[in-house]
């Protein structure tokens, strides 16, 4: 029962991510990769700052007291945003999304396998390796579809 309420919310969360890559890709094509990523992060910072100010319950630890390496996540976020804004106009939202997801899943499988970042070890088993092969196949299919489309436009 609760799942039927939560699942639409999750679909919305995923759809919002795809819409964001699409909007940012379009904006980036007009004003450049850097300006587009900058605007995204600044608006995000303003919005989350307001949310923290009014809705965050008090915690004993603050952003200023935790070990500094825990704050380095932003570096990966910036690289991701720049990559998406650069890639979407060149390869399309779908291909870019599949590439991101493949990277995400491959890395999380590696983290599980080696137990990086203090995670429990979950060794690679045949079904996980099969999943990687399927993802590579999906990327290749979308690449093929883009390439075929380009040939059609070229000959038309």
């Amino acid at each position: 029962m609760i799942l039927t309420l939560v699942f639409p919310l999750l679909l919305l969360g995923g759809a919002v991510l795809a819409a964001q890559s699409s909007i940012n890709g379009r904006l980036g094509a007009k004003v450049g990769v850097l300006a587009s990523a900058w605007l995204t992060f600044v608006i995000g910072a303003v919005l989350t700052f307001l949310l923290v100010f009014f809705f965050e319950p008090a915690h004993s630890a603050t952003l200023f007291s935790v070990p500094k390496w825990q704050l380095t996540g932003a570096l990966f976020g910036v690289v991701y945003m720049l990559a998406i804004v650069f890639a979407v106009p060149r390869v399309g939202t779908a291909a870019a999304t599949v590439a991101v997801i493949s990277g995400q899943l491959i890395m999380s499988l590696l983290v599980d396998h080696f137990g990086w970042l203090d995670n429990d070890r979950l060794p690679l088993d045949p079904s996980r390796i099969a999943a990687i092969v399927l993802l590579a196949g999906a990327l290749f299919l979308i690449y093929q579809s883009n390439a075929r489309r380009e040939r059609q436009t070229a000959s038309a």
Binding site: V6, L12, G13, G14, A15, V16, L17, A19, S22, R26, V31, L34, S36, A37, W38, L39, F41, V42, I43, G44, A45, L47, T48, F49, L51, F55, E56, H59, A61, L63, Q70, L71, A74, V79, F86, G92, A94, A95, T97, V98, V100, I101, G103, Q104, L105, I106, L117, N119, S127, A130, A131, I132, L134, L139, L141, I142, Y143, S145, N146, A147
Partner: protein, 143 residues
């Protein structure tokens, strides 16, 4: 060839995203999820502000001449994080990821197919549908 290089680059960026999530989880436990989200956007925003000032000539006039909906990308990121924070305690991380990925892949195909949000139209064909099936199979194998 250039397409393959771009896709590999995006793939690496996706790997970074997993590392970011790995860092963000424990941080959120300690300082709160909204604060953890803020750290991402704040550090990223400040670094990119420096880059904007020192690299090239910031196209601010062009930026704010765009239609307003083109500037709303930054509003969507926090929505995603809030959904994540709301749902993870209820259904668990695995289910959350599967739900998010379904929405992401489905929406990206729909956006490309209809050319929504100013994207170029890239019609759904047999290749793309087959790719979607492969992705769902892979998700099912992992979770």
């Amino acid at each position: 060839m250039q397409q393959i290089a771009t896709l590999l680059f995006v793939l690496c960026a996706g790997m970074g995203l997993s590392v970011e999530a790995g860092l963000l989880g424990p941080l959120g436990e300690q300082v709160g999820h909204l604060s953890a989200t803020l750290s991402i956007f704040l550090v990223g925003g400040l670094l990119l502000t420096l880059a904007m000032i020192f690299i090239g000539r910031p196209p601010l006039t062009t930026l704010f001449q765009q239609p307003r909906w083109l500037l709303t990308g930054g509003l969507l990121g926090p929505i995603y994080v809030v959904v994540l924070t709301l749902t993870t305690p209820i259904v668990g991380v695995g289910m959350t990821m599967v739900g998010i990925l379904c929405g992401q892949i489905g929406a990206s195909l729909i956006i490309d197919h209809f050319g929504l949000l100013g994207s170029e139209r890239r019609a759904i064909d047999g290749y793309r549908l087959l790719a979607l099936v492969l992705i769902f199979l892979a998700l099912w194998l992992i979770y």
